[in-house]
């Protein structure tokens, strides 16, 4: 079995992203340091081209490399989201890296290679290939988390992320090998054929499913496998944190859903029980622990854990009902949730990144005191993001939660929706506390070290995109809903 030029054409976006990363790595040492901005523009240009290519592949249904990789609407949906988030990351990093005096041209190379790993994750239908994509993404992120080398916390984050990431990869790989032993293949269609009609009474299949669930739970930062998240999100440079919280979570969900729906769909009654437990634990712990955080990056880390819990509701609901129409509604609500989550979380992190206190980042919640007086527009934007994260209408966050809860109700699990709603109310407390700090408190005396917001054109673009997404999809979510529904239909 050999490959043809057609295969290469199908994975052209992946090839372009990888090639751009290599060009960045090659140009970085020879470029004069004043010209390194060009590397960011090169990355953005590549992303724009890839976005066009992937959008044109949206209606395709083709497989390449002997069925290891597929190009379908499902993969393209995630890829478009990932391009968008990566583009925002590059724009945010463009000003953030200057503020932090991190002049690593390689940074953009790592962003692009992480992206190519994520693209492999969402388009592969072979467990081994998915695993390698995950590793490519994770390794790039380990390095990026440690780029702020002058700060011990950043190095700690990198080391912690690496050790726990390697551990979780080992578990994932163990699950893959057991599944291979039980079914005789690593390809999802073959696995689906082998598991149909079997149940988890088979101990091999049971262990394989549990290990795969645990491995993916680490990547998704789901309780009780979330321990690394707060430390890593806090220690890593904020632009990297935003990238991890949004893009790596989206890609992990993409691969996770494909493995469990397409490969282990025959066992969905069994795995939905596992995810029900994880989902409730995540909702409870994520939201309750976020209440007591004083550091905004840690608070957003716990909030991102809680949001993974909301997204899992859709997964549980999809597994609960046998009928394909309703179960695809559940999966579509997960896709929609993560797309909307991307806008609000990225926006919030962008503001955190640019709030400076003296030479360093102002990342305590106290630093937002009276922000409304000094930077009314930024405070307004932050309020919109917080309101959206809390899930209050008419923002995107409400739409996301609405569809996820609806899928739970359709699956006959109204009680789960009620539990999630209670914890959404809990979450409103810590999101709105930040709004209160910004609006209700008087700012102190303006000194050299008092927090101020560093604005730049690229940051304005990031914030404009994020807020546009939150507001427009809050009022008019139909295009995104249709896209998600259409994407899920290609998932077998």
């Amino acid at each position: 079995m050999t490959f043809s030029a057609g295969d290469l054409f199908l994975i052209l976006p992946e090839l372009l992203v990888t090639a751009a990363a290599c060009v960045v790595f090659a140009l970085d040492p020879v470029l004069h340091s004043s010209k390194k901005d060009g590397l960011a523009w090169l990355s953005l240009g590549t992303l724009a081209v890839c976005m066009g290519l992937t959008a044109s592949q949206m209606s395709h249904a083709a497989s390449a490399f002997g069925g290891l990789v597929v190009i379908d609407a499902y993969g393209c949906f995630w890829k478009l989201l990932l391009y968008f988030v990566t583009g925002l990351t590059v724009l945010l990093s463009y000003s953030y890296l200057k503020e932090e005096r991190l002049y690593f041209g390689e940074y953009y190379g790592f962003v692009l290679l992480a992206l190519s790993g994520m693209m492999v994750m969402v388009s592969a239908v072979d467990l081994l290939t998915i695993y390698l994509g995950t590793e490519l993404m994770s390794l790039s992120l380990y390095v990026m988390a440690g780029l702020k080398r002058s700060e011990p916390r950043s190095l700690e984050a990198s080391a912690k992320y690496f050790v726990l990431g390697a551990f979780s990869s080992g578990i994932l790989l163990y699950g893959i090998s057991l599944l291979y032993g039980a079914t005789g293949s690593t390809r999802l269609p073959a696995i689906a054929a082998a598991v149909s009609g079997r149940s988890l009474d088979d101990p091999l299949l049971l262990f394989a499913t549990i290990l795969l669930a645990v491995g993916f739970s680490f990547k998704l930062a789901v309780v009780p496998f979330h321990m690394w998240t707060p430390d890593v999100y806090q220690g890593a440079p904020t632009s990297v944190t935003a990238f991890m919280a949004v893009a790596s979570k989206a890609a992990s969900f993409g691969a996770f859903l494909r493995v469990f729906v397409e490969g282990l769909g025959g066992l969905k009654a069994n795995w939905s029980a596992i995810f029900l437990l994880l989902c409730i634990a995540t909702l409870v712990l994520g939201n309750v622990v976020a209440l007591v955080q004083t550091n905004i990056k840690r608070m957003l880390a716990y909030s991102s854990i809680a949001h993974a819990g909301y997204a899992l509701i859709g997964v549980v609901a999809a597994g609960r009902l046998g009928g394909s129409a309703v179960s695809s509604n559940g999966i579509a609500s997960v896709l929609l949730y993560l797309a909307l989550y991307a806008f609000m979380t990225f926006g919030a992190f962008a503001i955190v990144a640019m709030l400076r206190k003296g030479g360093i980042e102002g990342e305590e919640i106290e630093d937002f005191t009276g922000l409304a007086k000094r930077h009314p527009l930024a405070a307004l934007l932050m309020m919109i993001f917080m309101v959206s994260l809390a899930g209050i209408p008419p923002t995107a966050g409400f739409i996301g939660k609405f569809y996820v809860f609806m899928s739970a109700v359709e699956a006959g699990m109204a009680w789960l929706a009620v539990v999630a709603l209670i914890f959404a109310a809990v979450s409103a407390y810590y999101y709105l506390r930040l709004v209160m700090v910004m609006y209700m408190r008087e700012p102190g005396e303006v000194t050299a070290t008092s927090p101020r917001l560093v604005m730049s054109p690229s940051l304005s673009i990031v914030l404009a995109c994020a807020v546009a997404g939150v507001v427009i999809f809050g009022f008019y979510p139909n295009p995104l809903v249709n896209l998600a529904t259409q994407a899920v239909l290609t998932l077998k």
Binding site: F104, L132, S140, V143
Partner: protein
Amino acid sequence: MAQLFFGYFAGVIALTAVLVVALKNPIYSALSLLVMFFHVAGLYVTLHAEFLAAVQIIVYAGAILVLYLFVVMLLNVKRDDRYHGQWRIAGFVCIPLLLEFMILLAGGIAASPGPVPAESTGGVTGGNTLAIGETLFSTYLFPFEVASLILLVAMIGAIILAKRDVGGDAPQ
């Protein structure tokens, strides 16, 4: 003939494995581990798994053992008594293995499907290295290339994180 080689390799493996835990000097322990790895590779060759034998030497003897030696030398374990006297751990690992072995001897072997003839694993003329290479470069070309990117990231990442001058004060 095959019996003779097996006896030799198995004997040396058992002997050096005991030496790894019995020797006082960690460097000697590591070196006997190295000898053991080579003999395990020899066993693989007698089983017609040449590729596995080569990988065994490259990965275990070449990479992992060198890593061990570096750690041993950097940490100066020689003077640290904590790391001596591994008998207890060795016993802890040995007992379950011994039990498993007993169970196998008692009745497990009869139930097992019996030895698979070694030739059937070769299949393709030219040995299993050729077969693995051909599969890697045709069916699994895509994941193979992704793996190469992983190595690229690891290499550049290690250099960046370990580079002496922090890229902080570069511009102008």
